[in-house]
Subunit: 258 residues, 2 copies
Amino acid sequence: MGTLREPTRRERQREATYDEIVRASRQLLAEGAELSLRAVAGRMGVTAPALYRYVASYQELVDLVAFEIDKAATEGFRAAADALPEDDYAGRLLVSTTAFRQWAIANPREFGLVFANPVADADCIRREMLTLATSGHLLTGQMRALWQHNHHPVPAVEDLPPSVRDAVTDPLIPAETEGLAPDERGLIWVYMQGWTQLYGVVALEVFGHMDPRVIASGEMFIDTLRNFVPRIGLADDWPRLEAMVRALLAQPVTAAAG
Amino acid sequence: MGTLREPTRRERQREATYDEIVRASRQLLAEGAELSLRAVAGRMGVTAPALYRYVASYQELVDLVAFEIDKAATEGFRAAADALPEDDYAGRLLVSTTAFRQWAIANPREFGLVFANPVADADCIRREMLTLATSGHLLTGQMRALWQHNHHPVPAVEDLPPSVRDAVTDPLIPAETEGLAPDERGLIWVYMQGWTQLYGVVALEVFGHMDPRVIASGEMFIDTLRNFVPRIGLADDWPRLEAMVRALLAQPVTAAAG
DNA sequence: GCGCACAGTTTACACCGTTTACGGTTTACA
DNA sequence: TGTAAACCGTAAACGGTGTAAACTGTGCGC
């Protein structure tokens, strides 16, 4: 680790400009306008090419904004969980999950930016940022906390298919394994399964490829949760959890603050 | 029903032009190029504004192409199923499902066009076309065929939440209910659940938001199927089905013919 | 054979991402 | 303290996009 200097004046200024870029971008998104270099620059009272001092391309702007959106939204999911006692691990996980769903429905464009953007080019900034996707961080952490409390059964690592064994043994998202013994890594597979199911419902709902009435009621979302919770040892707790989730779904969805 | 005239010469010509538009568009997509009015027009040896005689906007072109891509791809899924005996309902369903997954992985841009495009504006052409999404047609039909053969248990309509009851009783996609008695509509809910899970894995894989090793092996896809098949009465049949699916996954993925 | 609907053109506009060359400021260093 | 370099912004321009308007010829229907 190098010794960290105190940030110089220019560096602070530069950081502030980055903040303003993100702020202007999110504002554009929130207003339903297109996210473009020129629009962002215009809102900052600056010409478009000036932004190239901060991002190398439009795609990099998108990635930057997506990352910051994810970060901010995740704070919301965490805050939602904090309404519950610290030792209600199951409740916290489900509340954050529901907050995620509500946020996605209320902010479809932002959801698309963060979660439905191809990460094809292996070496782009995006890959690196995905590595520390903050919402993934949060949910993983909550699930590990839950498991360390109730120790629900997870698949044995040696029973997993080779590719999965590799993926959970040496994951691309290192943080997922923090303080998880090698023979406990089966939990990560369970996490991946859960994330896949959650993503499926939410994406389908956000993109509108589902009966509008079902979307509005959130019944498919609830059904997905109900289908999954037994796998993390929460079958008995489901009635209570379902009531909690339904209460949250009943609240009006509101766009996130910029 | 009005009496249908024989198509006049002009009408045939016009239809041919539509075909050429779609052909040029798919060609562009297949080559990895951007889909743009000008590019399509250029490939047809025509100027861009000419296309406005056929589509009202760029979005409408996209919708048109997406619909045709879906149609063509669905033919492939059906053909894959036809390699199996007609009465192997379970096999046919799983084979088509696997073909869908393989197609999506091999043609990510096309998948995005068809399945990850918001259908926000309620009254756009897209809504109407979604109504008869052909891949949905195929899978629904195969699932109903399976059910009419093995009559696996499905939820009773009166046990479903109100919004779901409405959705399955009076669905937006009428064809889904063809010849399905009102008290058998619980099957549609099962279908929606299955489609949600399938969509989740495939979209996650296509967009690369998953460990590349897991994507390459298809283990998450298989896991999703394994998790779902008991709900359509195929628990006992799973070993055979898994072998079939694995055999298909082992085949090299190839882009669909234009 | 006349008239008109249609399919195509040219031109133009407003927007986009991106590059280049150029000026000021601000910082860092001799 | 003076100077050189690094930085931040500009204006101008290029090639691309979707889209609107006016205009032209050709072929079909009556």
